[in-house]
Amino acid sequence: MDTFLLSLTVLFAGGMFALIAHRQFSLMKAGYIAITVAGSLMGLSAIWPTLQGGSPVSFSTTWLHLFTLSFTVDSLSAFFLLPIFAICPLAVLYSFHYMENSEQCGRVAANYFFLNVLVVSMALVASADNLIGFALVWELMSLSSFFLVMYEYQKEATRKAGYIYFIFTHVGALCIFAAFALAYSSTGSYDFASFADMPAKVKAIVFFLALAGFGSKAGIFPMHMWLPHAHPAAPSHISAVMSGVMIKMGIYGIFRLYASLGVTDLIFGEVVLCLGIISGILGVVYAIGNQDLKKLLAYSSVENIGIILIGMGIGMIGVASGNMVMASFAFAGALLHVLNHSIFKTLLFLGAGAVLHKTGGKHLDLLGGLMKKMPTTGKTFLIGSVSISGLPPTNGYVGEFLIYYGAFHGLTLGGSSFLFVMLAIISLAIIGGLAVACFSKVVGMVFLGEPRTEKAATATEAGFSVTLPMIVLAAASIFIGLFPEPFINLVFLGLNGIKSLQLVGPEEVAIVAGNLAFIARLFLAIFLLSVALRKLFYLKKEIVRGATWGCGFTQPTVKIQYTGTSYGMSIVDFFRPFVRIRTSYSGITRIFPGRTTYESRIDDIAEITLMDRIVSPLLYLLGKLRWIQHGHIQLYIGYIIVTIIALLLFI
């Protein structure tokens, strides 16, 4: 535990260093990065024994002589700490060339400070062991990430995004604290361990309240609205950390809650599964519909959270019906997908940031052809895209396979469970197919083809500190895909904490992991053979370069390329009741048509519903109460006195 606390102290010191040294811009960046990387490495070494199967370590202290704060790193915590300590230093390293504006050194320093506060608070969230401690660090996490989103506070859109995030994260926190208060009033103890003693009814209320709260952090579908606003507004390495690591804390919360409540009713699994299906499918549909690169990635986070929840839902149904093969593999898949998503989503956000940095545009239909200009970014982004589409031989596939494997073993159940499992498999297939559509679109529109604008045509490759983290992450993606065994073992170790789950034996796990590794390597071998075969066929052959065949059209321009909007429209249209498509077309009126315009936009139904059904009525209602506000300070003092007297009456 000492190393763990020391690493957190070092990380915090790194943040302070950035604040102190902000006048020396380059020194500040270099020093900050060095300290942060060192702190993270210390953190990794602190959790290493636990990841190897060591016993949990804990630490506790009193606070205000009233509360006890205790922190424990058990195997589940350690698993969630792994992405925190592994991904964050890469994002920090990335910022060296990404944050280049030395005139705003103060803001950059503040950004660095809050980033490290975020890292520290996330590490504490993942290790918090009682309610008070958890609530404190959860709040710290929400606040520090709010300041990170607000980096470009002069922009109207950023401020709006920040406030949306603030509201969502605090409504979520409200639900979580309500759940905790209920739990405390029921058990009289602050420990997570005492959760299991609650009556079943209270357990259900606590679970669903906290699910709503954690869901708004994780981005489960109707509560996901802050993601597509906050991610585009924040700097890219911040989006990467938030999407890759921070939203997983919501998932961690659900995992921890499930483990400590020990609930085994079907309904919990079914609700989580349904939420997962909705988030997964609609997330990827909106990702296909959106053409803003970072917004698209934000929606894709919703999709991946959906996949994780599908895995958890199947696992819970498996536990509820006593099918432990199903439960073990589905939970393992969900947990592994947490790690995998933090790898490839970070990679993609960093890549998107590099593109944004070099071209100034993040609208898909204004980019193109960047593979030639930014080869490293392009190649790593391609690997990330393959991985996020869940295709072998990359890591995205490993997690999804385990979920599938668990789900298929649940098909022998009877009645409604069978139905839920079948729907889960079908929706995983839909999500997989649509993810291919979505990320082939991104790669195709951003990196392939011809540049659609001047800025895209003149882009150059980003600096080494930008490309290096991406290379590392891409390599990790492929490595986990080809050598999944140790990671699957790690996941099963992490699952030990769930008491109601009897894990399958290590032999069966080893067989499945071995098969996965085998088919990935076999595919790689056949791929390499095909490459060799192709080389053989091209020996001493004439190779000519020419223009693309225009199907008889001889004057092609870059503008006739298929756009991302049209690429995705038929798919989005298929899901029309769940997606609102608005188009405006000026039409052609005269024989010699003037300038015509066509615009289409895709609106989030959750957002529209929230606006129409909740925000507008609320505003109307609150507008009626406006007479309370007069702006005279004397009146407010009067209010305060009246309130205090009224409250005193109740004592």
Binding site: G415, S416, L419, F574, P577
Partner: protein, 217 residues
């Protein structure tokens, strides 16, 4: 190996799904003909319906004739003669209709299981088919705009009711007499519809029921 009554019912269910997904009126009418024949054959092949007298045989033959030939024939004539535009023009799209059909089947399975009726063996799938057919009939009436598809939806509803009767009874054809009366009513209804459609068609340009909504003023 393959149970005949089950196969008939499965074909009936399929015809329901197909009718929800069909885009052409003529093909819809053909599917209804098939469905009519299958539905009227069902009681003949259920195990415990036992022996049939000569009256029953004639009764079922008339049934097949009306359901499978007469009504679809009249509908077909209506489609052809009045030259209705052959596309179906849905309010709810074909994709959504097919998926709704699947959902209806699922719900029927659940309803049948939760009713916990003491049905004779093999009759629960009859009940599932019956509920599905009825609900899909309603769905068709609701989701399509043409008057003729509404009649077809009604026909499907009637098929469903007939099947429910089949599922819940073990006795001979006498119980179908009421049903038979309804069928005759329906036949008259189809004929009248043909005449009215013909008149509407000569009076207006289209037989879309959405246009009928304007008559309220």
């Amino acid at each position: 190996m393959i149970n005949i009554s089950q196969s008939i019912l499965v074909i009936t269910l399929l015809s329901v799904l197909l009718s929800l997904g069909s885009t052409r009126l003529t093909s819809l009418v053909k599917i209804m003909a098939l469905q009519g024949v299958m539905v009227s054959l069902t009681p003949l092949f259920l195990k415990d319906h036992g022996s049939f007298g000569s009256g029953a045989i004639i009764f079922f033959q008339i049934m097949i004739l009306i359901k499978g030939l007469l009504i679809p024939g009249l509908l077909y004539m209506a489609v052809k003669r009045i030259a209705i535009k052959r596309d179906i023009e849905p309010f709810i799209g074909y994709h959504a209709s097919i998926l709704s059909g699947l959902a209806i089947i699922l719900v029927s399975v659940f309803i049948t299981n939760s009713l916990r009726l003491t049905l004779p063996a093999g009759h629960d799938i009859v009940l599932i088919t019956a509920i599905t057919t009825m609900a899909s009939g309603f769905f068709l009436m609701m989701a399509r705009s043409k008057a003729i598809t509404q009649v077809i939806g009604y026909l499907m509803l009637e098929n469903g009711i007939y099947l429910i009767g089949t599922a819940l009874t073990k006795h001979s054809h006498t119980l179908y007499v009421v049903e038979f009366g309804v069928l005759l009513d329906l036949l008259v209804g189809v004929m009248i519809m043909g005449i009215i459609l013909h008149n509407i068609n000569s009076a207006f340009d289209d037989v879309d029921t959405t246009l009928l909504g304007r008559l309220k003023d």
